[in-house]
Assembly symmetry: C2
Homo-oligomer: 253 residues x 2
DNA sequence: AATTGTTGTTGCACTGCACGCAACGAAGGA
DNA sequence: TCCTTCGTTGCGTGCAGTGCAACAACAATT
């Protein structure tokens, strides 16, 4: 564990919240400002940070470069992108692609709704495991022991009246999701927003990612959204085919 | 300047090229592998790096999070996005939004062509200053001394037969761009690809960003692309209006 | 099954570098 | 003009980061 690197990464995280001055950062890290200055200079040299005006610093362009490179390397994303885009075009609603990595579910692609009212999200943002459709799909696809371990260890913040708040109910829900081949989030994450999700599978039937459709209730009620299920499942199936999935042996929906 | 941070950033850049092993990185940095290990562990703790299999490391999800946050903070991007998207929808071609920051021009948004043949680019990628439409727009918008300084200092790699290869020709071109209110790249960057660009302006008429349209010649010849100029200028003007531009005093096109 | 090679991991001792300090400089407001 | 508030610099010190060497885990080869 490297102290200075550690501090630098905290600086980056802090700058993610918005531009900061040298003193802001020094106070946050509880170190002398000259220390912050030196770290910032190194970050600047590599274009991870740039100055804004005389005294503010913000995140730099190297981050964009790196992260889009990394995103591009994910074959799933590239393969699914056209299907995601078409689903967005057909329905007009917000669509997401999410992936499970290292214990977390994050959005790796997204197309916004054409309507004024939209769900807020962002590529790179973590999705809650217990109250999102993509979270249920991806955790539900893990081997049983891991699934249990996760269900036991995660917190269950109650975000709406419908949010699942304990491990047993969560595990039961995951089982249901596995059976159905799709997941729903009926106002569990945000009031007034419904969501349905489906898995994108690879050659051996393994789940590579999850695709979802999110709609505010004022545009479409829950039954209406379920009416779009065939669209979603169709898109997910087409995307899976592009990822090498062969719908043979196992009788997955 | 912090040595360990410096090394860590080099590691990140290297991982941007693809997953690496510990020894790969140690060789690249010319340090002992235990040193690399410690840096990686710190990076991992902050989710900037994650393991892939037992022995490979790759970029982690914190990068996505940070970079999309940073992108979101740029108001220009948010304001222009719908216009960019519509231009893409109307023409079916690749559209870009680029911004000048700290001496470089980078793409900050993009919508891909609907056609099979596409121009390769990526958000976060640097655009060449001397042979792209967005480069000409953005450098051309800088105050005269800075413009000259840039023209004198940048390299002029000859990428096609049409590429501008000296400072004087470049400065003349920039002057022309300022007059016209738009820029062209007629096969200067890549053979077989034409491009036109226009500025997005802010409240005081200052150039905030550049919007461009790129089309492979096999789809549309240069005159055909010029036919789309009104579309581009219309989108740029609408975007400028959303950024607070008032087309009063100065008689800019 | 034993051997060899490769790669990740750990404990330790040394020293170089990252740290805090304090003084300076620049910019802006009263 | 003074005063405050920042960013910046040079310097001495101590500890954090380094290289080393031994170890562990695993795969490939014999």
């Amino acid at each position: 564990m490297s102290q200075s690197l550690d501090r630098a990464l905290v600086i980056l995280r802090e700058l993610g919240e918005g531009p900061r001055t040298l003193d802001d950062l020094a106070a946050k890290l509880d170190v002398h400002k000259s220390t912050v200055l030196r770290l910032l200079r190194t970050l600047e040299k590599h274009r991870f940070v740039q100055r804004e005006g005389a005294r503010h610093h913000r995140l730099g362009t190297a981050l964009f470069d790196l992260s889009f490179r990394a995103l591009e390397e994910r074959d799933v994303r590239r393969a699914v992108e056209p299907h995601l885009r078409e689903l967005n075009a057909r329905t007009g609603h917000t669509v997401h692609l999410a992936s499970y990595e290292a214990g977390e579910v994050i959005y790796i692609d997204k197309y916004d709704s054409r309507h004024q009212v939209r769900m807020y999200s962002r590529i790179g943002k973590q999705a809650a495991l217990h109250c999102t459709a993509v979270g249920k799909i991806l955790v539900g696809a893990l081997p049983e022991p891991e699934r249990r371990a996760i269900a036991r260890s995660i917190p269950y913040p109650k975000l709406t009246v419908n949010t699942i708040t304990d491990a047993d109910a969560y595990l039961a829900e995951l089982e249901q999701v596995r059976q159905c081949g799709y997941a729903v989030d009926r106002r569990e994450h945000e009031d007034f927003i419904h969501c349905i999700g489906a898995p994108v599978r690879g050659p051996r039937g393994e789940v590579l990612a999850a695709m979802s459709l999110s709609v505010p209730e004022m545009l479409l009620d829950f039954e209406g959204l379920l009416g779009l299920l065939p669209e979603l499942l169709g898109a997910a199936r087409a995307a899976s085919a592009d990822c090498g999935w062969r719908p043979d042996a196992q009788g997955n929906t």
